[in-house]
Symmetry: C2
Subunit: 141 residues, 2 copies
DNA sequence: GCTACAATCTGTAGCGACTACAGATGCAAG
DNA sequence: CTTGCATCTGTAGTCGCTACAGATTGTAGC
């Protein structure tokens, strides 16, 4: 383990998290405030780096910042049990599946509309027509 | 055609667009300001209703408000050609496909992690373990 | 030591697309 | 006329950052 003391720039470089975002995470209490240099510059150690990487990975998996907060055990005293984390995850999976369904339906509709465009030869645009007439109608939300 | 003059509440009811959202669309110039009653209440006609439904449908298809503005021909004088609209649409389709791919990858990873949870019997949580160790790593963005 | 110049600091405002108030009016039924 | 809902304007909040401005600090070359 090298670099026990990293500046915010080095941490950003090393984790792939934007500098502004790191400060933002500190402000909202996700990342603990690190010690400072004589001139008030932040100096991060390995625990901070690991925590930040954890946050980034959880974000990549689609957890919201509030959920990350819960996963980190910052939510009012007690850590989540494994069962609670599993429930949270499965809730996510369901949401993702629904979103995939929605997007696929959208893609199909848009593809059909685009397919009706005969390369600038038609007088009026079938896509605008569809937006005005809407025989397709997406499901109610 | 009934109800040549609808209040904002009736319009909202009839189109499925929130009252606040209707006022918001007016404020940003997507929906023209309607005439008012003696007491400054908005009174909408059929053209407004049709326009609002057009906006809602375009939004349902994933067009941004700026794109809707373009589709409506509000973007600085000239309307979009059919070819431009088609290009816009196909750009969307590509973006949607990419999002679907990302979400499916996410779903697969989360499902695998959730599957490793053996219903509260294991000592430590495999999901948290994964967030800390991250052998899976999602692709760089 | 001095001078550049880069990095970091704090604080605030902006993004998209709404949503949620507060506090003041208007309107329609009984 | 009163009651109570609808609507009005204006502003602030949401989420997860991102982008400044303007002031300091850290560092490398001379």
């Amino acid at each position: 383990m090298r670099a026990a003391q990293a500046t915010i720039g080095a941490l950003s470089e090393g984790t792939g998290v934007n500098i502004e975002t790191i400060r933002y995470y500190e402000r909202i209490g996700l990342l603990p405030a690190p010690p400072r240099s004589a001139g008030r510059h932040r100096l991060y150690g390995d625990t901070h780096r690991q925590r930040l990487i954890f946050i980034r990975r959880a974000r990549e998996l689609g957890f919201s910042l509030e959920e990350v907060r819960a996963l980190l055990g910052l939510g009012g005293g007690h850590d989540l049990t494994c069962g609670e984390i599993r429930a949270l995850t499965q809730h996510h999976i369901a949401a993702i599946r629904e979103k995939v369904r929605d997007l696929k339906r959208l893609e199909r509709i848009l593809s059909e509309l685009a397919g009706q465009c005969k390369a600038d030869k038609v007088p009026d645009c079938p896509i605008l027509d569809a937006l005005n007439a809407a025989t397709w109608r997406t499901a109610q939300r």
